[in-house]
Amino acid sequence: MIEAQKLTKSFGNYKVLEDLNLKVKKASVYGLLGPNGAGKTTLIKHLTGLYRQDQGIVTIDDQPVYENSQVKGQMIYIPDDLYFFSQASIEETAKFYAKIYPDWNWNRYEQLKQVFPIDSKRRVVKLSKGMQKQVAFWLGISSMPKVMILDEPVDGLDPVMRKKVWSLILQDVAERQVSVLVSSHNLRELEDVCDHIGILHKGKIVVERELDDMKSDVHKFQLGFAGDIPEGFLVGPEVLHRTQTGSILLLIARGDKNELLQRMKSANPVILDVLPLTLEEIFIYELGGMGYDIQNIII
């Protein structure tokens, strides 16, 4: 559905995106992860047809996005930094969108008033940041998009509202086959909603996998030994992280879980546990292997 091939973009002498490939399937939610400055927003602005790429192709439904109003009419983009006309109320803004988006649905807009408890006569710019985000979702969902591109979408929303918003989006994904690309730092948030994850690092997608695959690929173990830890125990490239407290060893390793367990058992540990791994840990350790180490900060 959404596809970028060999996408390259520079700002001046600084290369932000380099030979980037990305693919979002129809009716799926794609989570775009990356540290600050990795180029997430730049990538998103290419996917929404705002920036023109230096090289490469960006398509939605096999159609180039840049300057393509037909594609853009079926897509909504909710940026991190929202902009609304300064004098317009929610209702007036909705009227403006209704004239511009071909599939706008007034019924939906009216129904959503129950979800978003804001007086539609109020001026949008006078609302708080969180409420403006709600308005953006309200209007975005009412325009019946086939593609939603969301940059840090739930920032500033309270937990209840987050839940409501996500359930609305996921409902659309399920019922109307909407494709969603969402960037976030909030890994826990993505864990619950995404089915695909791409990790962007230094202008490249370094990992792109189904979330379940990813979880089954990296594992966290806790081991205890009766005496000293045997020398040469599991020191290969497969170990992403290793901490030792006394005779307790904490390992994060990549590979086949059973095979790894076999190898550990052969060293006869007293304790051997497989611990649940959060997406955050995967994120940190996958990138750690690429020189993006999380340094222990001593204050």
Binding site: Y51, E67, S69, Q70, M75, D81, K99
Partner: protein, 672 residues
């Protein structure tokens, strides 16, 4: 989707109208208060004798001539509108939001442009409507006419469109609203600024370099000057000319559209939206500031060359680094010094080439056989329109003086002797290379092959070495015929001649008889032919003159009568006219001496008492002494008390005078 709906997006246009209607409303009110309502109040409160004045004021306002308030409104409101309408493009947030909408760039541009233009013309339309109503229903009907109202409407829309198109185009090239405003005005003033500054620099570096003191072309064609000079009113081909400007404005808007399509959104907030233009901006600013700095330092230091160079260095460095700061939005730009060094290298080579006169410009002198004629005068534009363009009517219509060239024929010398004389003079000037004293004069050769050689020098008529070369030219009949109106007098055309003396306080003597007029004209001609170089350049004797009023002319001509015009003076004496108007020694009752500096420093109460002279012979000496011309402060003012009239002259203390007068001067010194 049809073409029309896809190019103009209704929702965008409406949202712009909704957001910026207030600008339109304020402009409407301003125009209303300034034009129809103020006219109405003037017309209602009028007194009978003011009718022509009111008519004149109203006509001037409606034709945009000499109306600064309207001019200021016109050159600010459209620019403000263009800035507001395209503000969304200059701020990252709004640029992102607007362009994520399913609207193409061409549609964005066309819709925003149109909305702004509609908002600009509504105030003019409303005001025209009000004027039409006032024309029918109020006393203003006797001042307004429909053609006048529509002319006003047309001109208003025309200027709005013109300024709006420039501001829009400029806005496409920059990513900042402030820069958009600044650049809009700068590009209109820049050509004339560069012209003046470049000319100044070249004059310093190339001895003899000359050009027009300012460019009439720019003055008549750049919108800002156009608006304030109302040059379009003087243009004889107004309709074609307006059409050309409307086409230009349309071309600007189309170019803006093209630029918008290629503009990158990420440049919102940058001072220049196209990185390819950075060098042009950077070096353009460096060069302009260099010229400003050179002119400032050199001008402030009385044209010294080292100060010119110092000004160049300081100001160009400033310009370069300020441009870098603006481009990089950071003060850490010193590491970019290399670009400045390249620039400096190019400039050093250019300046070196200029000052070594590689092209031979300074020494270039034509040989007399090559020259067809030569202009030897003060006014570049006279030469340009009369000789080069062969279009004297243009300048006459611009000066609003249809007989201009008839009264002031340009000094174009064609005789072999004078051409050779001017060439010799030029060789002398190049050899001497003086810059300081004298007045600036053009020497412009028209060559037989159709080329021109244009030079400008300072020539000092009082300088002995210059005078030797000037004398044969000045004393030639050809020069005198062009220079002196007395040579061109035709007795049959003269209505009235009068003779007067400023010193005497007496009434002028009017001569109307054909015989008198014929004789006096003849005498004036003969005396002018006899005039020597010294008479022509002396500053004495500027008291007595003949005023001539010709048929079909509004202005009278004044011809000075010098003391060397003996046969003319004798004729006046024989006829008995002289005594009636001229000053005689016995008319002077007394003379008071006063130091010139006293006048400058003290008010009347504190002025030291002047030295009074009653001796006849000293008075006579003072009457005939040459006046001081250099205006140094230790001059003496001699005040002559004539019957119920006073006139004064400056006398130099250093002048060779008799012992008696010296005594009076000494007395004056002691008093102080």
């Amino acid at each position: 989707m049809t073409f029309k709906t896809s190019l103009f997006n209704k929702a965008l246009i409406l949202s712009n109208l909704k957001r910026y209607w207030w600008v339109s409303a304020l402009y409407t009110l301003a125009l209303m208060a300034y034009i129809p309502f103020s006219h109405l109040m003037k017309a209602m409160g009028m007194e009978v004798q003011n009718i022509t004045w009111i008519q004149d004021t109203i006509d001037r306002m409606l034709s945009f001539s000499q109306d600064d308030v309207q001019a200021i409104l016109i050159c600010t409101v459209p620019v403000l509108m263009a800035v507001l309408i395209f503000r969304y493009l200059q701020v990252d947030k709004s640029a992102v939001m607007m362009h994520s909408l399913p609207i193409k760039r061409s549609s964005h541009y066309a819709s925003h442009c149109l909305a702004g233009f509609v908002l600009l013309i509504i105030p003019a339309l409303l005001n025209s409507l009000i004027m039409i109503l006032l024309d029918y229903f109020t006393v203003l009907g006797s001042f307004y006419t429909l053609p006048k109202i529509f002319t006003w409407l047309g001109l208003n829309i025309f200027f709005c469109l013109f300024f709006y198109s420039i501001a829009v185009l400029v806005g496409m090239f920059t990513g900042s609203s402030v820069a958009q405003i600044v650049f809009t005005y700068i590009i209109q003033i820049l050509p004339i600024g560069i012209y003046v500054l470049l000319k100044f620099s070249l004059e310093q570096l190339l001895f003899g370099f000359g050009e027009a003191p300012y460019s009439l072309f720019i003055e008549d064609n750049y919108p800002l000057f156009l608006l304030f000079n109302s040059a379009f009113l003087r243009n004889p081909h107004m309709v074609g000319w307006l059409l050309a400007y409307i086409l230009t404005a349309a071309a600007f808007l189309i170019l803006g559209w093209f630029v918008y399509k290629h503009r990158r959104l990420e440049t919102a907030g940058d001072i220049i939206a196209f990185p390819a233009l950075y060098p042009a901006f950077k070096y353009g600013m460096t060069f302009c500031l260099m010229l400003v700095g050179g002119t400032y330092f050199c001008g402030a230091s009385r044209q010294s060359l080292p100060m010119l160079i110092l000004g160049y260095v300081i100001a160009s460095a400033l310009g370069y680094f300020v441009a870098e700061v603006l481009i990089h939005k950071s003060f850490r730009v010193l590491h970019l010094y290399k670009g400045y060094l390249y620039y400096a290298l190019v400039i050093v080579i250019l300046l070196g080439g200029l000052s070594l006169d590689v092209s031979g410009f300074v020494k270039q002198v034509p040989s007399p056989e090559e020259v067809e004629k030569v202009y030897f005068g003060y006014n570049y534009n006279d030469w340009f329109y009369f000789e080069k363009e062969k279009n004297p009517e243009f300048l006459e219509s611009r000066y609003q003086d249809s007989g201009y060239f008839e009264d002031n024929p340009p000094i174009l010398l064609e005789s072999q002797e004078n051409i050779a004389g001017v060439i010799e003079l030029q060789k002398h000037l190049i050899k001497e290379r003086k810059r300081e004293a004298g007045s600036s004069r053009y020497i412009i050769y028209t060559l037989k092959n159709g080329d021109y050689i244009l030079r400008q020098y300072n020539i000092n008529e009082a300088d002995q070495s210059d005078a030797a070369f000037l004398k044969p030219i000045y004393e030639s009949l050809e020069y005198k015929k062009l220079k002196f109106p007395a040579m061109r007098l035709v007795p049959e055309d003269i209505k009235l001649m009068s003779v007067e003396d400023d010193r005497s306080g007496k009434r002028p003597v009017n001569l109307t008889g054909t015989k008198d007029i014929r004789e006096l004209t003849e005498l004036l001609k003969n005396e002018t032919i006899k005039m020597s170089y010294e008479d022509m350049t002396s500053s004495r004797d500027s008291y007595m003159r003949v005023s001539v009023l010709e048929n079909n002319k509004r202005n009278e001509q004044n011809i000075l009568v010098q003391s060397s015009f003996t046969s003319l003076l004798n004729w006046l004496k024989d006829k008995g006219y002289y005594d009636q108007f001229a000053l005689h020694l016995e008319d002077i009752e007394s003379v008071e001496l006063e130091k010139a500096e006293d006048r400058a420093y003290f008010d009347n109460a504190a002025t030291p008492s002047p030295v009074t002279i009653n001796e006849r012979e000293v008075i006579e000496e003072l009457l005939n002494i040459d006046p001081s011309t250099n205006y140094i402060s230790n001059d003496v003012i001699a005040r002559f008390n004539v019957r119920n009239h006073v006139w004064s002259k400056r006398v130099s203390l250093e002048a060779g005078v008799s012992a008696k007068l010296k005594g009076y001067f000494a007395e004056l010194e002691e008093d102080n």
